[in-house]
Symmetry: C2
Subunit: 338 residues, 2 copies
DNA sequence: ACTTGGCACTTAGGCGTGTTGAGTGCTAAC
DNA sequence: GTTAGCACTCAACACGCCTAAGTGCCAAGT
């Protein structure tokens, strides 16, 4: 009853089950893999594995399927990340390098990842904690309505319409723009509010109320920045794996639409040594994802923002992890260049 | 064999079938509706309706269900648009009025419409044909990389990173910005390229190559504007109506993800007298939507951009049409105000 | 010229039954 | 620690039966 062989059996079960979606039995196992022992021996090993909670039998007498715990062990101790094929790498590079602005890069990234993995791909907007103010623009749209634009060093542009006193004019705006710019240019986004406050305090009384309103708008922008948004693609891939979800894919789609859920999920994922982190089935805090796995990793400066995929627990982990890691690397590189 | 009664029978069949998802038979029909005749008479009417291709029987002897053609007649000649309830109207107004920028408005709109109709909602970015240039901003991100920002009168902000000669400096940019601004401020977006070209032609030789690059970037922005993007929400609602789609919702999700498909679909939809236009089942050019209906209408200036919902052909048309119409009206109003 | 009751006919769907095949657990021998 | 053998279990499938719902049509009624 050697320990290494038991792991080998688990690996075989996971691989076969992922491949065929059918419970795998002892006989089929010895046929498809060179285990060097008979099916009876495998049966003994399987009984052990079941006792440890790594595999389970859907009904009294049929093959076994991996449990969440089994997948976990597989991912942690057995699986080896498969490197991508050369054409795949080329495709990634070609697609990402021809993008122009940030939105475009992220959009291409998710689509690519979705296609590569045949799963749903998600990418979080880059964290701006490390970014700083590149530029501020104030545009008078109509009396009493000013468009505030904040451009950060990472190329992100955010805008917002702010109501202001109706008598505000272009000259005052130009003045304020200049004051704000000299004060906060290059300032890190997290410290923007305090800098703005001190700047407003120094304003001449005539500009106080206008300045206050605009500073408020700017703060709102940098705050909205924080609770980032996510972009996703490949929901159609869920439909293909409809058989892997017990009742329906409804709850999964709901989770995906609730950006809050996905954001919490992504931010909670720690990175392990390999840099790619995995949540399997019920390890996910959200009930609707009990049959789903999430594979994600950080990218960009400090790897704070996440990119990843979501699919059924019955998923080809090695390949998917490789794709996520590769895409994250290229993405980081592209962003560094801008 | 009165014609009005036959229409009444069709209405009853549509309503019952939408309600119960089950083929409706002659007996059930006379029980649930006050038709004043016996089931045998209804059977005769149904045979007629079937001959005309308005209803069909899934198998030899079971109730009838409406065909696409039947739904079409129902929508065109029978259904009356139900006004929304007062609380619903209030909810619409409250939700939309508290939005700030364009993205936010559109995002709230789709979510609202999805919730209101229990279907997938889509909204197209407002057409900018009628919009004109409000402001242009050029920001030097790094040597040889300039962020070009174009702000239009409808509050839309578009950005793009443009590669330029590495020796371009802040002063040159400020100069160009001023020249561009005086030349194209207030110009309609469609005529932006020609105006820019003439502006570039007048530039001193030293600025030619830089000006050329930037003008190119600006043109790209106004062109990208055209082939608008769409926002959607409520895909989880599709899962709920999974029984209404023959095999799977896969093809539908694919169509929704292919923005090109949706854009063509929306732009092809003509408005009828009521202002809400409907595409039923196979009337849709795209095969994946053979079992789906799209209800859409224009909004905003000249009603060029579209907002609508997509769902199974078995859908509550009167209510859904009312919701789409109402949301489009509020949306137009909000946009007018900015 | 419609409408209606009656009746023979069709068929999906539910239900019990039997059969098959894959797979297990256990025991006894190696 | 491994293996062959065997009895046992159970999902899945097929078959046959029956029922309920619904139809089409005909002949009689208004």
């Amino acid at each position: 009853m050697s320990e290494p062989r038991r792991l080998e059996v688990l690996r075989a079960i996971v691989e076969d089950y992922v491949h065929s979606r059918e419970p795998v039995g002892s006989k089929a196992l010895v046929e498809r893999h060179q285990l060097g022992v008979s099916s009876a021996t495998i049966r003994n090993d399987m009984a052990l594995l079941e006792e440890e909670g790594l595999i389970t039998a859907p009904h009294t007498s049929s093959g076994r399927i991996p449990t969440d715990k089994g997948y976990r062990l597989f991912v942690d101790r057995i699986a080896e990340v498969k490197p991508l094929s050369a054409p795949e790498k080329r495709a990634i590079r070609a697609l990402l390098e021809s993008a122009d602005d940030l939105d475009d890069v992220l959009d291409r990234t998710v689509r690519l990842l979705a296609q590569l993995t045949n799963q749903v791909a998600v990418v979080q907007y880059p964290h701006l904690g490390a970014a700083s103010v590149r530029h501020i623009e104030l545009v008078l749209l109509a009396p009493g309505r000013v468009l505030v634009v904040l451009i950060s060093t990472n190329g992100a542009v955010q805008q917002r319409v702010v109501p202001v006193p109706a008598d505000a004019n272009e000259n005052e705006l130009a003045d304020l723009r200049q004051r704000f710019l000299t004060k906060v240019s290059g300032v890190r986004l997290p410290s923007l509010p305090s800098e703005l406050a001190s700047c407003v305090a120094e304003l001449p009384p005539a500009l106080q109320s206008l300045g206050q309103a605009l500073a408020h708008g700017l703060e709102h922008l940098s705050a909205a920045n924080r609770e980032d948004r996510i972009v996703m693609a490949g929901t159609a891939n869920l439909a293909r794996s409809t058989l892997d979800f017990p009742l329906t894919i409804g709850p999964v789609l709901e989770a995906l639409e609730e950006q809050v859920v996905m954001l919490r999920l992504l931010s909670e994922m720690e990175q392990d040594a390999l840099g790619v982190s995995v949540r399997i089935g019920r390890e996910n805090p959200y009930g609707g994802l009990a049959e789903a796995s999430v594979i994600a990793t950080g990218y960009g400066p400090d790897a704070l923002a996440k990119v990843g995929v979501l699919g059924p627990t019955r998923m080809d982990y090695p390949t998917t992890m490789a794709a996520v890691r590769a895409v994250a690397r290229y993405l980081s590189r592209i962003l560094d260049e801008s």
